[in-house]
């Protein structure tokens, strides 16, 4: 309760007005010129972590634009949303990057999408904008049609040049030799020694946030679900939580438990896939192939019990669409255990191999301070000793009711730690699925709450833990109950900036391995 009071005290000092409601983020509005100091104080006094930074266009004549900062206050289970209206004649604000280094990407993105500029930011390059866009085109503004075409130009984006004789650049992507999504890594090396890495994205930006505007929740659900393959459940869940949050409803218990099962099934096949991917990164064919076999079996289980390999079309706002029943779920739990046992024996082969150990250990160190500073999330951060997990920190759905479970952390900070992190999480996942199946009420209660007409101007926020970390969604509705702003911030978006800090000084052939140890998603950035 004291933390609660602290937040309330903080809000009363800094904000113009504020709301505190149960099961909703704290909300306060701060003047633009006080924003930086307010957040500075939030960081120092409340230990806040920047979870999301985005902007809104209200589409009206006056006070059209505002900035939206969503902070994670670790001591409480709630988030803190701060909105800052911007004067119409001066769309600038003081850069938050010196305070939260992970604000750099969103600031660049906000400038490209809204034309709102951060002052004194160290990185002024465009993020989404690629060369040929007209200078005054800001896609997320309300006066831009979602269906307009964007000119394409094949240009090399600028990067910070390493000064020194003989230093060369290696461009990797956006078109790769393998089946990899389009990211561009500009690597500067001297021979095989890696000096600097610059990751650039948005080569296949789909404008999902723009497309969602004007749709009702069920229409936008399709977009949220298809933003990315391997985080389908998590993204949908975040979306649904945000809608439910805005509507002020909670899901029935059966749906809450099924959602846990779905989220954990997704985590399970992702972790198995990541383990195989790390083995592939060092060319360890046996472990890779066997791991991929297990992943395939898990995805077939997904398809067999929930109708879709990526577990799509199950979660809907208000609950779930259907589920196979308790007996089949018990059967499923029995199928999972042998797969995990086989995984253990395969992994034992890998870990017993000295080359495997040598390649993974002390490679790609993500220091704890870097992970903290850049606000890393998910297994990557947990492998560097940062204990952060949305399931515990901000429990949602079934995670609120299920008995406590442990979130392991590791302290070696290297690729091996991230490899083992996934292994460590699998028992928890299995236990959660088992517990959720056991606690599933037998009585035939509804599996989805109906979504009432959403009040004009209401908004909601949802955050879930995917296999890569915290995925957040902010949704605001217009006067007709249609989506006015849909903002997504995924775990990959937060974790990509971690990679350049880990690869420096490693050798070039180890970069794919380090990259695979994070196994981040490109589509989640190019949403």
């Amino acid at each position: 309760m004291t933390h609660f009071n602290a937040v309330e005290g903080f809000l009363s000092i800094w904000t113009i007005d504020y709301h505190i409601e149960n099961d909703r983020p704290f909300f306060g509005r701060v003047e633009r010129d006080r924003l930086f100091c307010c957040l500075e104080s939030a960081k120092s006094e409340l230990g806040a972590r920047l979870s999301m930074l985005t902007a809104r266009d209200y589409g009206r004549m006056n006070d059209r634009f505002s900035l939206l900062v969503i902070l994670d206050i670790p001591a409480t289970t709630s988030y803190l949303a701060i909105e800052t209206p911007l004067p119409d004649d001066n769309l600038t604000y003081r850069s938050l990057t010196p305070l939260f280094p992970n604000a750099s990407w969103p600031e660049r993105e906000i400038r490209d999408m809204f034309g709102i500029t951060a002052c004194d930011t160290p990185d002024t390059r465009p993020f989404i904008r690629k060369g040929a866009w007209p200078a005054d085109l800001f896609p997320l503004r309300k006066d831009i049609s979602p269906h307009r075409a964007y000119p394409i130009e094949r240009v090399l984006l600028p990067t910070t040049v390493v000064e020194g004789e003989g230093v060369i650049e290696v461009p990797v992507g956006p078109i790769h030799a393998g089946i990899i999504e389009p990211g561009h890594f500009r690597i500067q090396v001297i021979g095989d020694t890696l000096l600097s890495l610059d990751a650039q994205f948005a080569f296949c930006h789909r404008g999902i946030e723009k497309l969602a505007e004007g749709r009702d929740p069920l229409g936008a659900l399709l977009l949220a679900e298809r933003q990315c393959g391997t985080c389908s459940v998590s993204n949908t869940l975040s979306f649904c939580l945000a809608v439910e949050n805005a509507a002020g409803i909670s899901v029935p218990p059966r749906a809450a438990y099924i959602r846990v099962i779905l989220a954990e099934l997704e985590r399970l096949y992702n972790h198995v896939n990541d383990i195989a991917a790390i083995a592939a990164g060092i060319g360890m064919a046996f472990v890779t192939q066997q791991g991929l076999v297990l992943k395939e079996e898990l995805q077939r289980i997904n398809a067999g019990f929930f109708g879709h390999r990526f577990l799509r079309n199950v979660v809907i706002p208000g609950g779930i669409r259907s589920y196979p029943g308790i007996d089949p779920l018990n059967e499923m739990v029995e199928l999972l255990a042998p797969i995990v046992r086989r995984l253990d024996s395969i992994v034992a082969v890998a870990i017993g191999n000295s080359i495997f150990q040598d390649r993974l250990e002390n490679t790609g160190i993500l220091t704890r301070s870097n992970a903290n500073e850049l606000g890393g999330v998910g297994p990557a951060a947990r492998a560097s000793g940062v204990s952060i997990d949305t399931r515990c920190d901000h429990p949602y759905d079934g995670y609120r009711i299920l008995p406590g479970f442990d979130i392991p952390t590791r302290h070696e900070c290297d690729v091996m730690a991230r490899f083992r992190m996934r292994l460590d999480e699998i028992p928890t996942t299995l236990a959660l699925i088992e517990a959720a199946v056991k606690s599933l009420p037998v009585v035939s209660s509804p599996i989805a709450a109906t979504i009432p007409i959403i009040a004009p101007g209401s908004w909601g926020f949802g955050a879930t833990e995917s296999a890569r970390g915290e995925n957040c969604v902010f949704i605001a509705f217009d006067a007709h109950g249609r989506i006015d702003r849909y903002a997504v911030r995924t775990a990959s978006y937060l974790n990509w900036p971690l990679i350049p800090t880990t690869v420096r000084g490693n050798i070039l052939p180890d970069f794919p391995l380090i990259n695979k140890s994070f196994e981040l998603c490109y589509a989640d950035v190019d949403r």
Binding site: V170, D192, G281, G283, M284, F356, I507
Partner: protein, 320 residues
Amino acid sequence: MLTGIAFAIRLLIKIAALAILAPLIQGCIKQFKGRLQGRHGPRLLQPFFDLIKYARKEQVISRETSWVFSAAPLFSFAAVLTAALMVPWVDRSPWPFPADLILFVYLLAIPRFMMALAGLDAAGSFGGMASSRESAVSALAEPVLLLSLLTIALPGGSLHLEAIPVAANSLPLAARAGGLAAIAFYCVVLAEIGRIPVDNPDTHLELTMIHEGMILEYSGPLLGLLHFTHWIKQITLLVLLFNVFIPIGMMVESTGAWTAIIFSALIAVVTFLAKMITAIALLAITETWLAKLRLFQMMDLLGFAFVLSITALLFVATGV
């Protein structure tokens, strides 16, 4: 005159055998590797189909390249073919032209030299990266290649490749020294033919390629030629490994009764095929079981091989 004709016939037979076996062995390795990893693997004759496909494709050549780009595969092919013709396959009777092992080692250096240049030619960083790595790896591989062969050849007094098996057969210490040298030689073979743990032949991950990186810009017939060259080099080194270090079953003399000759030739061919099957299994198992070494750990592997060869040399020198 008669020896000249016989020589020409043997040369032609060998070239024909190379043309058939080199792609076939590649196909077998891939197939077996696939099986070991729980996949079906490509079919055995796939390398032949690949070659035909390459031959019929148009060539796509970078505008950055110079004459080196087209010359490199030709030089490599010529050198590897010459080296391949020097290695005894089924019989140990001397070749009319001397097949000196120093010459052999240096002939194999030609493709590395040429391909390293070709990698630099297209001005891309992937080719250059691969060239630089290849040069670094082969610089370490070359002394081991020479020393491991030398330790077996030295006691016999002749450096001719067809004489080495004879020498190795007749020496009591061959088992000890030869075993060590064979392991060393095998490490070098893995490095030379670009297999795990040194290079990953199946990867096209841009940043980890060595051999694939140098040939990245090639296409069509030239790419086919490069693959063919690589397969010839592969079979040559494998044959050398087995014929030098396990010199059993090879035909010795082509005199005597016709039946005896045919019988011994038959035995020699069967042994040869058995050796090749063992080689395929060995490579496939190695590649499935090991992971790729860290780039600069290659020094450790090849250093280990070097130490093994020195130990073998110690046995040979002291005659223990």
